[in-house]
Structures are given as C-alpha cells and as structure tokens.
C-alpha cells in the first residue's frame, strides 16, 4: 500500500452510521474521498462512495466453468479413451457417475480462483512489512475517511469544516 503519496486529510469518526451519512454529504459538496476504512463492512458504503459493483462474481463463474470442463475432460479421457474399462457394469463414459467429481472440481476451481482474484485485486498477499495506514485504530473501533488534498479543488480548511460538520471526532493530517 505504498501507493499513497502526498498529503491527506484524515477524518476519524467513532460511529459507522455517522460516517455512512457523512460520505454522501461530503461528495455532494464536491469533496473527493479516497477511501473509507472501517473495522467491519458497513452496508451501503460502497454505494455511498460510488464504487462500481464488483465483477468478482463473473470471475468466479469463469473459474467454475473452467473447473467443470477440466473435470469432464479428465474423466472422459481417462475412463473412456485412454484406458476404457467396464467396472461394476457401468459404461466407460457414464456421465451420472462423473457428477460427484465434476461437482467437486467445479467448486474447487471456483473457490480458489475467486479467492486468488480477491487477493490480487485488493493488493493483498503475504507481506513482511506492515502496510501504511491512515489510522491503525480503523481495525479496532474507529471509522476513518482519507481525503487527498492535491486531488481536491477545495481548500484544507473547507474540507476540515465539512468533516467537522458531518460528525468527525478528530481531523488529522497525514503525509506519506
């Protein structure tokens, strides 16, 4: 998370409802909010911030289809083509018998593919360095709004006033 460069105004709220209501007000006033950090998911926050709907579900579906095709290819090739054999009176290519393994591999590919996509798209991964944070209390009980001053037309004092008016408990300046 070292892509934060510059000077930020950090509004610290102590209630999720307050910050949820603050976000649209600030955006309406023309403040560009970089991100909101919270100790848990605040429902409606992505809409309030104007984030587009995540497409991770489409990725999950693609991984599922890949898993299903891989499983059927493996089963049909091994049991039907490479070494066809009749066991227990079942045909070498017998789709009903292939359902359990096809299902399991579809689930496996979807779960792992989707989670890997999640990690990559959020820049998460095994790291030996503690990430740069605007306020470490945002993983405990505080709700933090980060606003980069350079990106905003409004002055520092104006933004601070908006933060104060919407219920921020603290306003800090953070320089990366």
């Amino acid at each position: 998370m070292s892509d934060f460069k510059g000077k930020y105004l950090v509004g610290v709220y102590d209630d999720d409802e307050v910050i949820l209501h603050a976000v649209p007000k600030l955006r309406k006033a023309g403040v560009k909010i970089n991100e909101v950090y919270s100790p848990f998911a605040i429902h409606g926050m992505d809409d309030a911030l104007g984030h587009p709907r995540t497409r991770i579900g489409i990725a999950a579906f693609m991984f599922g289809v890949t898993g299903c095709i891989c499983a059927l290819t493996l089963l049909i090739w091994t049991m039907g083509i490479d070494w066809p054999m009749i066991v227990g009176g079942k045909d070498p290519i017998s789709l009903p018998n292939y359902i359990p393994i096809t299902f399991e591999l579809t689930v496996l590919f979807t779960a792992f593919g989707m989670v890997t996509t999640f990690f990559i798209s959020n820049g998460l991964g095994p790291s030996l360095v503690t990430p740069a944070m605007f306020d470490p209390r945002s993983t405990d009980n505080k709700f933090v709004m980060a606003i980069e001053l350079k990106k905003n037309r409004l002055s520092e004092a104006e933004i601070a006033q908006y933060l104060r008016d919407t219920g921020a408990e603290e306003i800090n300046i953070k320089q990366f």
Partner: protein, 475 residues
Amino acid sequence: MHVTSPVRPPLVTGGKTYADVTEDICRHVENNPTKEWLIAFGISVIVLIYGTACVLWTWWEGLGVWGLNKTVGWAWDITNFVWWVGIGHAGTLISAILLLFRQKWRTSINRAAEAMTIFAVLCAASFILMHMGRPWLAYWALPLPNAFGSLWVNFNSPLVWDVFAISTYFSVSLVFWYIGLIPDLATIRDRARSKVSRFIYGSLAMGWTGGAKTWSRYEYISLILAGLATPLVLSVHTIVSMDFATSVIPGWHTTIFPPYFVAGAIFSGFAMVQNLMLITRVVYRLEDYITLEHIESMNKVITLTGSIVGVAYLTEFFIAWYSGVEYESYAFINRATGPYWWAYATMMTCNVVSPQLFWSRTIRRSVTWTFFISIIVNIGMWFERFVIIVTSLHRDYLPSSWAMFSPTRFDIGDYIFSFGFFFTFFLLFSKYLPVINMAEVKAVIRSSSERLPIKVAGVAKGDRVASPTFNKDAQ
C-alpha cells in the same frame, strides 16, 4: 433512536461497544496462557504422544494389529472416519448455510466451529491414511498417470469420489476460515506491542487495511463461498454415505443414506460445537458473546436433526420389511436383537431419545444439561456408525463366515490419537487466534446489542456531534 425487538433478545449482552469487542476477544491472544489452558494443553499433548505411538506401531506392524478379520474388514477405522467427518460438518453449516439464511447468531460461534471443522476433517483423513496400511502410497488414490501399466484410478468408485470430496471440502473450508480470519489478524497486528507478534500477525494479515472497496469484495466472496460450501457440505457426507449405499451389503444398500448421513453429521457436529463452545465461553469469559440464546438456537438445530435421524432409523427398518428382501430384513432384525443389540440400543437411546429432552425450555437453556446431552449425542452418533458398519458386516451371506469384531488396544489407541490431535490443535487455535469473529460481531452489534445508540449527525439532533479536535500529525 434505537429500537430493540421484544421477540429478539440481544445477541451480545453486557452493553458492549466496538472497542469492548476487540478488548474482550484479543485479551486471551495477547496475554500469557492461563493455568487451565496449560493443563488442558499438557493433557492433550500426552494423549497425542500416546496415540501417535499407537499409529506408528500400526504402520510398522501392519493392519494385523487391529481386530479386523475376514468378515469384518471395516470397523473402527471407518467408524471413526465417518464420525469425524460428520463432526466437521457443523462448522461449515454454521458459516455457510446460516450465512445464506442471514442468521446473525452465527457470528459468535462461526470462527470456532470452522476451526473445529478443519481439525475434525484432518482427524477423519488420518483414519483414511491409517486404514491404507501403507500411507506412503496414499498418492495412488490421486489421478496420476502411473508407471504400473497406464491404469487410472477408477472414477466410478465412491472411494475415489471420497478423495475428491474430502480434499475439496478441506481446502475450501480452510480458505473460508482463513479469509474470515484476515480482518481480525489485522486488528491484532495493529494492537501488537512486541515486534515478534507484529511480524507474525502482520504476515498472516496479508496487508489488510479494511478499505471500503476491500470490505465490499470481501463480503461478496464470503457470500459466494457460502453458496459454494452449502452444496459442498451436503455433497461430502452424501458421497461418504455412498461408500456404503452403492454396495450390495444388506443394511448398507439404502437410498435413504445420503440425507440420513447429512442430518446425522449436522446433529453430531452441533453437539461437538456445543461441547467446545460451552468450555470456551467459561475459560475465556465470553458469556456475553456466546449467550443462552446461542446455546438455545444450537439446541433447536440438534433437536431437528436428531428427529430427522430418528425418522431415518424407523424408515430404513420399515423399508427393510416392506421391500420383502429377506437379507435386508434379517440385517435389521439382527441389528436390534442380534449379538450387537447393546450397540443398537445405545444408538437409539442416545440419538432418538436424548435430543427430545430439548423440547423442554428449561433443559434447552440449561448449560449443564446441554453439555451432558451433547456428549451423549456424540457417543450415540459414534455408535450409529459402528452399528451400520459392524452389524452389517459380521453376518455374511455365508453363515460359515459369520464372525464377531472386538477392538484391540491399537484400534482404541488410534482413536485416542485423533482426540489428542483434535484437542491439541483446537487449544493452540483458541490461544493464538481470536475464537470469535470480531469483525462480524461488530457488524451485528448495533442491531442486536443492548445499547450503542445511533448517532447520525444532523439526524439525531444534539446527539454527540462533538467539536472535533484538530491534530497535526505529520509522519
């Protein structure tokens, strides 16, 4: 304005705030282990060492040290395997199915239940390895092109389906559990005082900062994972039941097995969750998070699944008679009145009668009764697997092959191993990781706590919209 519904008692009591949740849950991770924990851990490790010695001896000498014979070729190994897999199911059920059903009470118990799933599935897998006799050849069960004649594993066999089902189930459960842990690991990282713990929890937290976009994707993938895990958990025990149901052994060749096994798995799994959570809530003083409401809700699930299991017992008995197949009828009459009648009676008493006690509200909300009945249920479910396996096998089609099974000390020792393994790892988990999902509990606390009023600036007039302090913090 904060409204509490009179029909929905608070899920978290004691008027907790977000900071209290962090403090209460992190306390046991950050402090030194308690004396109770050290004693329990010491006992578990001793049991594990003894069990490991038995397992190693089994492998060294071969499966001849078990009490198996020509007729009873499966006994304690598969009984223990099916029992442990069943125990694991409650964790996924709580985290996945209850998430899909929007059951908020799951948040206090899902973390520990998922950990239980992972360790229980590992215990189950250990019996598969043990009963192979030559565990170093376990990879033969995988679909690898081999040098033994270009043969492949038989994908039509339920035993191979098991390999796929159990390994997928384990890996998906592990991922689900770990994803849920990441936000809490970040909380511990940010509170850590020592460099070592900041480094360890920091590496595990994978750089989590809790941005809104990350949370949104996190919730989305949790929901999809739950959607995947729900049919997965049902498929796993269905496939385990097919190990039996697709055979031609009387007493096994039963179409009711898949739903009956799944219900039994949830039944025993919830009983194990009760046992673990009742101990955890007392040892870590989490009575405000795992309340009587949670215990009661789980007891209701136990009553429901216990009743389904009871109906299944009666149904298979009825169908054995109704089918008119003499071998099938004999198998069931022999179960109830044959030489293993005592195992059948134990199973019926523990699984059919004991959960019905939970119809009484007093018993359902009593910690002592719950703990006692949960143990009884687990014993009953172990006997169910034993009855299905051994009573069906000990009477072959050929009366000259009729035999009895009795366990040796290695059968028992290997079972003891699984307990040592399970409790050692569960205790390590409960000491070094948060036993309750802090992020999820915080998310439900507003709608289900006793206090935490809504403070919306400009909406609730005069409510704490304090003038903020202005700090210059140039770092």
